[in-house]
Structure formats: C-alpha cells, structure tokens
Amino acid sequence: MSDALLTLEGVHTHIGRYHILQGVDLVVPRGGFTILLGRNGAGKTTTLRTIMGLWRASQGTIRFAGADVTARPTPDIASAGIAYVPENMSIFSGLTVRENLVLAARAGPLQAGKLERIFSLFPALERFYGLAAGALSGGQKQMLSIARALIEPRDLILIDEPTKGLAPAIVTNMIRAFREVKKAGATVLLVEQNFMAARMLGDTVAVMDDGRIVHHGAMAELAADHALQHRLLGLHLDTHQ
C-alpha cells in the first residue's frame, strides 16, 4: 500500500450536545480514490467537515502530509492543499461560472491550460462560462463545484455525495470525469451512496456506522464479498447497478 496522505486517529466530534464522531480511525493513501460508505447519519459528512476544520474535533488527531492539522483554521487547511466539495452543489450562485473558478484558482489568474482541462472534463462549463452560476442546472452546478476543486493542483480532494439527486446520464458523465481525475494521479476521499459509482471509482473503501469506521480495506475485496457487503451495508453492491 502506498504511504498515508491523511490519517485520522481516534477523532471525536460533538455538534451541540450530539456526539457524532465517536473515535474515527481512517487512513487515506496517497494516490487513488478512497470511498467512504455508510448509511444516512453514520457521520460521513461530519468526517469531511471535521477534516476541513469546519467542525472542530473534540478529541483525536488529524494528520495531513505528516503535519497535525487538527486545530488549524479552515483557510489554513485549504491552503495546505485540501480541496472540499460539499454536498448540495456548493457554488456561489450570484457569481458567474468564470468568477467561481477564479475564486478557487487562488494562485493567480486562470491559465488557458487549466481551463482547457476543466472544459474537457465538463464541456457545459465552457458554454455557460460568462453566465451567473445560479442559472445552471443541478448537474452543471455540481460539475462547477467539482471543477472548482480541480482548477488548482491539490494534494487531497474531499468530495461529498457528488451524484446525489442527479439524473443517470449526468452521473455517467461525472464518473467519466472522475476516472480522468484518477488517471491524472489525484488523491480523493469520496463520500458516495451510489454503489455503482463507488465500485467503479474506489481503490480503497472505509465503511462507517454510528460515528466509527467499521471496515477498512480494498474496494475489490468488498465488491467481491457479498457476505461482507450484507453484513456491513445490509445489501449487495451487484443489486445496485
């Protein structure tokens, strides 16, 4: 296995009086897709938000590229090289597609090469480049949201349920785009409920339940073991294609 880029050790997170993460241990290896699976309310989104510092870990350690980032403010964590794509098409709807991308490309003006890559992954963004992002369709908003994470080279990209609520044709396009991203050698921690997408993209998988990681291993292993799928997720991946 390649070396660990992100490590969570015994991470607990409280939101108000609720104890959401109850000792999460997770390793995201450098390169490839790590899929975070689990039923609704298992703590997947909270894990991503805790990594980003949007919710503070009340206990435990988060290490990114060897450095402890547990107590660092969110902008510092983002600057350290982690991009975050929250669920629900997290774009700035009052700004244009171009402005959304410029905001994410913090290193400076948009370079033609970077834009070409984004447009080859998501051609719709080129068509609506000067338009207010709020006017885009749901799928296009999600593409813009992901494009923002890809416009600047990042060491790690956290993506929360990108295919949620999207039409099957758009999901297929998105999986194609993610495969390109994977080929380019990116490291992605992906929360995904769509098991077909999860199986096609994932190298490593972690399954969460009740705020803990209950399984961690190779995606191929989980995909091949129906008994394990049933025990961890209560279903078979094959029946969800």
């Binding site: 949007l54 983002a78 700035f92 905001l103």
Partner: protein
C-alpha cells in the same frame, strides 16, 4: 478608457444608463443650471449620501454584514474636520490634520469592532454595532466642551472655500464662481472619486471574495479565504469612506452636530436608500440617494401645491396637505419595495437581461 474608469462594471440597462448619466450631468452642472441656494444644497447632499450609501452597500450588499454603526463613522468624519477647524482655526493644515485623524480613528475603530465581533453571527454583530454607535452618540453629546454637545459646532473653513471668496471676476453662465461653488465641486469630485474607487474594489479579486462570503461564508473558508480578515477589511474600507462623507458634509454645512451625522434617523435613511436603489449594486446607491433626497426636499412643496389645487374637496385637500408629506413618503417607500423588491437597479437589470435572453432566443 471608460471600461477602466468603471472597472468594466457597466449599468447593464439602457434606462438605468440614461438615468445615471442624467444624475451625473445634473450634479456636475448643478451650480450653473439651477438658481438659488436650495437646489445646490440638495445636489451637495446627494453627493454626500451617494458616497455614504455606496460605502454602506459595500458592507451590506457586497459582504452581507448588517451594521448600525455607519452613521458613527460618518460622525467621526464630520467631528474630525469640525473639531480641528473650530480649535485650530480655518487653515488647510488644521483641515488636513482633522481629515487624517478622522480617517485613522474611523479605520482603527472599525478594525477593532470587526476583529472582536465579526466572528459572531450576523444578528449579534448588528446588535454590537448598535450598542457602540449609541454609546458614541451619547459620548458626543456629553463631551460638550469638545464636541459642542447637542448644539454641535459652528466653525469657519479655509478662505478659498468661503462664499465671500471670488475665483473669477466675471460670472460664468450667469453664476459667480465663489468659494461656495468651489466647495460644491470639492464635495462632488471627492464623492465621484471615492465612488469609482469603491467600484474598483468590488470588481477586484478582493470584491469577488466579499461576494462569495456574502453568499456562503463556510464555502469561502473551505476555499481558503479567512472570512474574518476579509470582513474586517471591508468594514474598515466602508468606515473610512463613511468618514470621508462626513468630512465633506462638514465642509459643506460649516456645522457639525448630532442631528446632521450621528442621528439614528440618518441610519434608517441610509438603509432605505440602499434597499430602494438595489443592494449589491453600487449604482443603486446613486439612484437610492437621489430619489430619497429629492423626495425629502421637494415632496412637501409638491404636496402643498396639490393641496392648493384640491382646496374645497374635503378628503383630498386633507390628504394632499403639505403637512402630510411624510405619509406620502412612507407610501412611496412601500410602493417602491413592493414593485422593486431587488431595488430599482436590480429590477432594471433583470428587465434588460430578460429582453436580451428573448432576443437571443428569437435569433436562434
């Protein structure tokens, strides 16, 4: 050239462009077009409020911060110039010292308030600014030896700016170019320059981050932008611009008191101007300030005339009496908010965008 001056932020609606050009020319040539002192007073007040309202829009419309301390910074500007001129005499040095002190105090105070309270939720920040502004107004009223208390301060301004000063021997277009006209143009050009600077700021990368923060501060943080720092800088810029508006008002009125700068009713006026003109569009500040100040100054006269015309008609004469002008002003506000929920600029831009979309769909 025009693109650079306007930072490529055009009005994006033909009627809006026309109205803005009319306002610009009206203000630029006010001393030569209108006779009497009231129109010039109204024009100067419009210039001051365009600056004050645009500075507030930078905070409310572009950054999403609700502050009730804007008139406090306006007052700091006014009192800064007033105290320096009253205590040190009507010289340029005194005025310069007053200006620098006022701008520095306004900027520092905004920074302190911002860094300490912009972390809290919007409503709490609004309450904190309200408390600080109220405390400042009480302080200005109590320190009467320094600020003139409730009576305010009367003072002389440098000679060149006084009405008795004549720049040219002969009148130009029937108007004597005296110190009053020079002061008017000082107010006009300061307001114009500051407005263009703010237009540049909101269209810069910094302005884009402010708009992103307004839409969703969590997302902006997740992209790596320290929200509190950006909000604090916006707050400082807005405060400095408000103080600048206070300084030019102090020069124009040659009087500074609580009623002209610190009053809460001015804060309400500024809020209404931003809402009527259109939040998040600096051009809205121009439209909102012009509409409101003209209404405040001429609605009473118009009502008086209508009252005279409708004399003898029982209900109408009572409704159109000059004393009822505030009622009509209120009705105008309600109607404008009802018909222009996004403000005049927002509505005109939406109409223009709708027309453009229809045209391009027709061409396809």
């Amino acid at each position: 050239m025009l693109a650079r001056i306007l930072s490529r932020d055009y009005p994006r609606s033909r009627p809006l462009t026309l109205v803005l050009v009319l306002i610009l020319f009206g203000l630029a040539f006010a001393p030569f077009v209108f006779t009497g002192s009231q129109p010039l007073n109204v024009a100067a007040k419009i210039c001051v409020f365009v600056l004050l309202v645009a500075a507030y829009d930078l905070l409310l419309g572009y950054t999403g911060i609700v502050s009730f301390a804007h008139t406090m910074f306006f007052g700091i500007g006014g009192y800064g110039a007033a105290i320096a001129l009253a205590r040190l005499g009507p010289t340029w040095e005194a005025l310069g010292l007053g200006i620098v002190s006022a701008l520095v105090v306004a900027g520092l105070l905004a920074l302190v308030i911002g860094l300490f309270s912009l972390r809290v939720r919007a409503i709490f920040f609004a309450m904190i600014t309200l408390a600080v502004a109220s405390a400042f107004a009480v302080l200005a009223s109590q320190l009467s030896g320094f600020t003139g208390g409730e009576d305010g301060l009367n003072y002389q301004i440098p000679e060149v700016l006084r009405p008795a000063f004549r720049l040219l021997e002969n009148p130009v277009l029937g108007t004597n170019v005296n110190g009053r006209i020079i002061t008017y143009y000082l107010v006009f050009f300061v307001a114009l320059a500051a407005f263009l600077v703010m237009l540049r700021i909101v269209n810069s990368p910094f302005g884009r981050v402010l708009q992103a923060i307004r839409e969703n501060d969590f997302r902006a943080e997740a992209l790596g932008y320290p929200v509190v720092v950006y909000r604090s800088i916006a707050s400082v810029v807005s405060a400095v611009m408000a103080a600048l508006a206070g300084i030019v008002l102090a020069l124009w009125l040659r009087y500074t008191g609580p009623d002209t700068t610190l009053s809460f009713s001015i804060m309400i006026d500024v809020l209404l101007m931003v809402v009527i003109g259109g939040m998040g569009t600096l051009y809205g500040a121009v439209i909102g300030a012009t509409l409101m100040i003209i209404a405040e100054n001429y609605l009473q006269v118009l009502m008086g005339r209508l009252g005279e015309v409708s004399k003898g008609v029982p209900l109408l004469s009572a409704l159109f009496s000059a004393d009822r002008w505030l009622l009509w002003l209120g009705i105008l506000f309600i109607l404008s908010v009802y018909f222009f929920p996004e403000g005049v600029v927002g509505k005109l831009r939406a109409l223009a965008l709708g027309r453009r979309t229809e045209t391009s769909a027709g061409e396809r």
